[in-house]
């Protein structure tokens, strides 16, 4: 096991950033810390790196107690949200920094440093830019320099703080795939922080969903998406329809019986039901209980706003399906739900 976090607690004055967090990061995996801002995910990452101190708890890095260690003794690579490249150094010097500051005995010779930096710049596809300054690079290139620099010290663990946060949508997607491929090649234990659920679900082997300084759920992307452990996870991961309901004998009833949805999991009484927009079926029905209040086409998908007796719902389907149904804004329709997850209120 590469990283073991046990009962880590951190307070900033009255604010509890981390509330006794336990987490195990397996060797060689790519783990996402996912949560809204203020959930403590960055604080946890910074504590792992030694950039922040913990108020209590324990941290093992490769089996070694690390909370008392300085950042420089932890052998972690850290990629900062805004890269924190050394602005007065060239790309080459940035990557070489970690090798050049080693104590004399462990410092590689300048030929060896040059070889390794060149190798890393090849890896991140930035060899032609070795003599540029950070200010002369694009966001995506800076990001890759930051990564090469972090890898130069041959860290046991790679920590990335919002690695794609400062990039535009297209570059973000490319870099995401590229990073996933890089990780598959070099298999370094990696933890990255993100508030973007799509990013976490696409990139990570396992996702840790955090909220208000606690871990809500840990699991593979499919597990956390398909089987959210709490109402928070359900709402945070992806679009969702949320409505109050009354569960009696496994059937959730909404309002005065406009909807009846079969449920699982033994919840009884007042509850909150969650339905993903793509689990919500729409069929045209001239005397149906619902009305289509709007249709928005976003790329290949269509988002359909539905008004069900005052209840605003959202359905999602691809455009072909929409065309087959032949519905338009203002039409009446019927709504059916095959799957809903309910949590007691």
């Amino acid at each position: 096991m590469a990283i073991q976090v046990s009962g880590i607690t951190k307070r900033f004055n009255d604010f509890t950033a981390l509330d006794s967090v336990d987490l195990e990061v397996k060797s060689g995996e790519l783990l996402a810390l996912l949560g809204p801002s203020g959930s403590g995910k960055t604080t946890l990452l910074r504590i792992m790196a030694g950039l922040e101190s913990a108020d209590g708890g324990g941290l093992l890095l490769n089996g070694e107690e690390a909370l008392g260690l300085k950042p420089r003794d932890r052998q972690v690579g850290f990629v900062f949200q805004h890269y924190a490249l050394f602005r007065h150094m060239t790309v080459f010097e940035n990557v070489a920094f970690g090798l050049k500051v080693r104590p004399r005995g462990q410092r590689p010779g300048s030929a060896e440093i040059k070889r390794r930096v060149t190798e890393l710049l090849d890896l991140v596809q930035l060899s032609p830019f070795a003599s540029r300054y950070p200010a002369q690079l694009s966001g995506g290139q800076r990001q890759r320099v930051a990564l090469a620099r972090a890898l130069a010290i041959e860290p046991k663990v790679l920590l990335l703080d919002e690695p794609f946060g400062a990039l535009d949508a297209k570059v973000r997607k490319e870099l995401r795939r590229w990073l996933r491929k890089l990780h598959d090649d070099i298999h370094i234990t990696s933890v990255f922080v993100t508030h973007d659920q799509e990013e976490a679900l696409e990139l990570a082997d396992r996702v840790v969903v955090m909220n208000q300084g606690r871990i809500e759920q840990i699991g593979t992307p499919a597990e956390v998406y398909d089987h959210p452990a709490s109402a928070f996870v359900y709402e945070f991961l992806g679009q969702v329809n949320r409505f109050d309901c009354m569960v009696e004998g496994g059937i959730a009833r909404v309002g005065d019986g406009t909807l009846a949805i079969p449920t699982q999991g033994g919840v009884q009484g007042p509850a909150v039901a969650y339905v993903r927009p793509h689990d919500l079926g729409v069929t045209p029905a001239s005397a149906g209980p619902a009305r289509i209040s709007g249709i928005h086409v976003v790329g290949p998908d269509a988002r359909i706003d539905i008004d069900l007796a005052g209840l605003a719902l959202e359905a999602e389907m691809d455009r072909e399906r929409l065309a087959t149904l032949g519905i338009a804004a203002g039409d009446r329709c019927a709504v059916h739900i095959d799957r809903a997850r309910v949590f007691a209120r």
Partner: protein, 295 residues
């Protein structure tokens, strides 16, 4: 389709030449620029020229004699010594103060920032006077210092102390905003990459602030050599011993020795000019890097 929103192409209509929203009429621009230039000429350039004209009124020989006369040489030496001690001292204090203000959060930080600005808001005479009250014959530590045989007031240490006090804010005020803007991300990155605190300071912090630091030192030096008020109070005006250049100028002027007074004053004026030129040269030569350091 109503006719008034028709999009049919029609003959191009001549468009008046585009005028930027922020452009003023020509006569306003000329008037403003002339006004500014006249003001500068009258209040800055003319006095500066006057210094040199007065200094050379009796020819270059008289000018030169006034500069190599022993009291003048002593004043120049003393000024250089005071600057040589107080500027490095303020360099150190300035970097240390900006470092802790910009990179750390602590109680009393605002108080520290206010204190750094204090010398700017206090009259220089008061700055001198506080040292007389502390270290003078009748001052707080006066008796003790006399028994120890240490003289501070009316001697070089007093001049240095007063100068340090007056010029303290220059380096710190230049660096604090710069370092605050840069944040401590790069320092953190260096630490994680295995650098020691000392390596981080020399390889990351200092290179990032070097131009700002040079600015601060230049301004600090100009003020250290030119300071009059605070130094005047603690100096005692002993000719050839505790007179710095500005004080020497005043004495000569009060003795109606105008050529000598303006000759020494011309040196100070040249110092100012050199400072300006170096500052401009730095901005011109390293403008990119200065901008990069603030990017």
């Amino acid at each position: 389709m109503p006719a008034d929103v028709s999009l049919t192409a029609s003959a191009p209509v001549p468009v008046p030449p585009a005028q930027s929203a922020l452009t003023e009429p020509v006569w306003v621009r000329i008037a403003l620029i002339t006004g500014a230039l006249l003001f500068l000429a009258l209040f800055l350039l003319l006095p500066l020229v006057a210094v040199f004209v007065e200094a050379l009124r009796r020819g270059f020989d008289a000018y030169w004699v006034a500069l190599i006369e022993p009291d003048a040489v002593a004043a120049i030496e003393l000024t250089l010594i005071v600057a040589a001690i107080s500027v490095p001292a303020n360099l150190l204090f300035g970097v240390a103060a900006s470092w802790c203000v910009a990179k750390f959060d602590f109680r009393g930080k605002n108080l520290l920032i206010t204190l750094i600005d204090l010398p700017f808001s206090v009259s220089p005479v008061i700055s001198g006077l506080i040292y007389v009250l502390l270290f003078g014959m009748n001052g707080l530590f006066g008796t003790y210092l006399r028994d120890m045989g240490v003289q501070i007031i009316f001697a070089v240490p007093g001049l240095v102390l007063a100068t340090i006090f007056v010029t303290f804010p220059f380096v710190a005020r230049e660096l604090i905003p710069l370092m605050q803007e840069q944040g401590s991300d790069e320092e953190e990155a260096a630490l994680v990459l295995g650098a020691s605190g000392w390596q981080t300071f020399w390889r990351v912090t200092i290179p990032n602030i070097k131009w700002g630091l040079l600015y601060g030192v230049l301004l600090c030096n100009a003020r250290a050599m030119g300071e009059f008020g605070a130094v005047s109070v603690v100096s005692g005006h002993i000719r050839g011993e505790t007179n710095t250049m500005p004080l020497h100028v005043e004495i000569l002027y009060n003795e109606y020795n105008f050529v000598a007074a303006f000759a020494v004053a011309s040196l100070l004026a040249m110092l100012a000019l050199v400072t300006l030129v170096v500052k401009t040269a730095l901005e011109w030569r390293f403008g990119d890097e200065l901008a990069a350091a603030r990017h």
